[in-house]
């Protein structure tokens, strides 16, 4: 049995999500139709909307369903025309690449947003601005100071968008204070194909797509009922997740890995991190070799984010933290709701084998 430690890329569907998706698939109606079949589809949609609203601690009418996190991020950032935009250097590509004219807010070596830099960028600028800072980083798991970002932004009359794709269901509540929040179903244990943009009621935004006027006019297209139902169910369950086990296994795994390779670097170790994420760089083994060796040993890990992968680019997150030399060496192990302690022990053993094997060959050469 293979071990899967790539839950930040995608996590498999929870039983409740699977059940919700299957029930939704059985409904043939279009949620916008006025007949009974349409009304039943609408009821499923409404229920999921309430569940997601509860996760985000907002009202149901503040939830705009999208096809996923990427679309939600694009919608949030494109909706305000040419309004000046500040984005952190460690954002997901679906935030970082949306507007070429965005100003980058740096992060420190600890992986946390540089709040002084943000304040400088906001100060003296009297036009309304949009600030986009993720709630927790997908590669390192480092939790960002969203509470401070929000209060700085408020002080300067700026709006805040937060990509909480990785954070939702794992940490509350600071990201819930943002004006716009991105969520993804499949990262919570739903299925792929549904996400949401939370649009707080004081914000009005312009749709990226034109169409039938669904989702209060902000996102047209027939709603992806099965994926949305699964998203709702997963959101409902995720709020009650107990991550204490995951946290202790991750810490033990990290401890074992560092013991086997004392000069390896855990990115963001000194910062507050998501309990499930471990990003580690071995100074002499590149990420490509590392993930292939893990794969051959039956353990699924990744080098940075999944996206278009194929070839492994240097991690922009490691570079932003000043670890340029490690940017091609960082691998990510991410635990999920279904991870067991055995999975972590196995991963630690595999790492140990890879590292010792490498050192032995190196010494022999």
């Amino acid at each position: 049995m293979n071990v899967y430690l790539d839950h930040n890329a995608t996590t498999h569907a929870r039983a409740c999500a699977r059940e919700a998706a299957l029930k939704a698939i059985d409904l043939s109606g279009n949620a916008s139709s006025v007949h009974d079949a349409g009304r039943r589809a609408k009821a499923v949609l409404d229920r999921a909307r309430a569940q997601v609203a509860n996760l985000a601690d907002v009202g149901s009418r503040e939830v705009v369903f999208t096809s996923g996190g990427t679309e939600a991020n694009n919608l949030a950032l494109k909706a305000f025309g040419a309004m000046p935009l500040l984005v952190s250097a460690i954002e997901h590509p679906s935030v970082l690449n949306v507007r070429k004219d965005a100003t980058i807010i740096p992060v420190g070596p600890d992986g946390c947003l540089n709040l002084d830099a943000l304040e400088q960028l906001l100060t003296g600028n009297e036009v309304p601005m949009l600030v986009s800072v993720m709630a927790a980083n997908n590669e390192t798991g480092v939790i960002q100071p969203i509470e401070d970002v929000v209060s700085l932004a408020r002080k300067h009359g700026a709006m805040v968008h937060s990509d909480a794709v990785q954070a939702a269901g794992k940490i509350g509540s600071a990201w819930q204070q943002a004006d716009l929040v991105t969520l993804s179903g499949h990262k919570l244990g739903g299925i792929q194909g549904a996400g949401a943009l939370i649009v707080r009621k004081h914000i009005s935004l312009k749709a990226v797509m034109g169409g039938g006027g669904q989702e209060l006019g902000m996102r047209p297209g027939t709603e992806a009922l099965p994926a949305i139902a699964a998203f709702g169910a997963a959101a409902n369950e995720a709020v009650n997740d107990d991550l204490a086990g995951v946290a202790s296994w991750r810490d033990a795994l990290e401890h074992e890995m560092l013991a086997a390779a004392p000069d390896a670097v855990v990115l963001g170790r000194e910062s507050e991190r998501l309990a499930n994420t471990l990003c580690i760089a071995h100074p002499r083994i590149d990420a490509e070799t590392m993930v292939m060796s893990f794969d051959l040993a039956g353990v699924a890990v990744s080098a940075g984010s999944a996206c278009s992968s194929g070839k492994m680019a240097a991690s922009h997150v490691a570079v932003a933290m000043g670890h340029d030399g490690l940017a091609r060496n960082a691998v990510r192990l991410s635990l999920g709701w279904s991870t067991t302690q055995e999975d972590c022990l196995r991963a630690a053993a595999v790492w140990k084998d890879i590292v010792t094997g490498f050192e032995e060959r190196h010494r022999a050469a």
Partner: protein, 396 residues
């Protein structure tokens, strides 16, 4: 008239244009992807991801086969609305940023809302737009098209089959004209693919939109076909991880993608037989209904029509009242999207109907699971509802 309704599941679903049920055979291939299989198809570094990527590629081939395309020409999206937006805005944005020569975009007044809105959006960006009329059959005039398509024209977007009245447009003729003049041809084929033969080669189609849930696949997935030779160039709508050859960023949804793939494969295998069966069922409905109810007229061309579409205007009835009077039948007045807001259909107006005539029009969509018994049941209940409605109107 009485009949044996024991085998009929109520309400009878007659709204196959709004959405189709997922075929059980499609569901079967989707199921493993809800649990034991779950990789991110873009995670190439491990077997979970590679298995998902293989499944996605298989589906890509299945979709391509149905429309005579190359798998590399298939881009997965979240649905036809996104595909239509991507095709129209993507083509306009590419032109604006890279060539900036052709300024005109041509479409029909009877297109789906998301096409009309996309065209209006690019109009605001400075493109010249032409909304061509249709005749009372619902068809475009090739002479009109000939007049507006020239070397200033960037794109012609004309749907394959209308979502309200089921009328088919002459794709081959349009494609011959656009190809000859170096103009991109986009067609919203959400209602047509899998129902009638579509061949992107034969019709010289450059961009084509497909919806999963209109052909017995799941909601939440669609396709944009993008021709490679000559290359149809468009810009993406979303930025991000660069998936789908950089045209459509975002994690693909393997359960939904394998679903639309299988749906296309099944539709292709059964298309000819099903087309004949539905045409016969439609004939049966019209014949029996007209025998029972006077003053019912089919909207749009009968000859050039989707096999499962019936759009009827029925004298002396209000369509919305009819829906309430026939609760055992699930049908609609027109397009689903905006049915919260009741306004006269832009499609029915386009074929020359007065608001009153449009208001007495209903849309029935027959599909893969519609049986002859259900058709007879529908005739019976609808005829009764019409009688009741007319009596109420008379009494008032």
């Amino acid at each position: 008239m009485t009949m044996d309704t024991a085998n009929i599941k109520l309400p009878v679903y007659l709204d196959y244009h709004a959405s189709t049920p997922v075929d059980p055979r499609v569901l079967e291939v989707m199921l493993p992807w809800f649990t034991e299989k779950f990789g991110n198809p873009h995670s190439s570094s491990h077997s979970f991801g590679r298995e998902a990527a293989e499944a996605v590629e298989k589906a890509r081939g299945q979709v391509a086969d149905l429309i005579g395309a190359d798998p590399r020409e298939i881009i997965f999206t979240s649905g036809a609305t996104e595909s239509n937006n991507l095709a129209i805005k993507g083509a306009a944005n590419f032109e604006r940023h890279h060539r900036n020569k052709r300024r005109r975009i041509v479409t029909l007044v009877s297109e789906h809302k998301c096409v009309l809105e996309s065209v209006r959006d690019v109009e605001r960006e400075g493109f010249e737009t032409v909304f061509l009329p249709v005749d009372q059959d619902g068809r475009v005039s090739m002479a009109d098209l000939d007049r507006v398509v020239d070397d200033e024209t960037l794109l012609v977007s004309i749907m394959a089959a209308n979502n309200e009245i089921g009328v088919l447009q002459p794709l081959e003729e349009i494609g011959a004209l656009t190809r000859e003049r170096g103009v991109l041809f986009h067609t919203d084929a959400a209602q047509a693919v899998g129902k009638i033969p579509i061949d992107v080669e034969g019709a010289n189609i450059d961009l084509l939109s497909i919806s999963g849930h209109k052909l017995y696949g799941p909601k939440g997935v669609g396709v944009l076909f993008m021709r490679r030779r000559p290359r149809a160039r468009i810009e993406p709508l979303f930025s991000g991880g660069g998936q789908e050859r950089t045209i459509r960023s975002g994690t693909l949804a393997p359960p939904l993608v394998v679903g639309i793939g299988e749906a296309c494969a099944i539709a292709g295998q059964e298309l000819e037989e099903e087309r004949g069966r539905l045409t016969a069922l439609r004939h049966r409905f019209l014949e029996r209904f007209n025998a029972r109810v006077g003053g019912a007229v089919l909207n749009g061309s009968l000859e050039n029509r989707l096999p499962g579409n019936i759009s009827l205007r029925i004298e002396g009835v209000d369509a919305l009242a009819l829906i309430d009077l026939a609760p055992d039948l699930a049908f609609s007045t027109g397009s689903a999207c905006t049915s919260d807001v009741v306004e006269p259909s832009h499609v029915l107006r386009a074929i020359g109907l007065e608001d009153g005539q449009a208001g007495s029009s209903i849309r029935l969509g027959l599909g893969r699971f519609t049986t002859a018994d259900e058709v007879d049941f529908a005739v019976d209940h609808l005829a009764e509802a019409v009688g009741q409605s007319r009596r109420q109107a008379g009494a008032a």
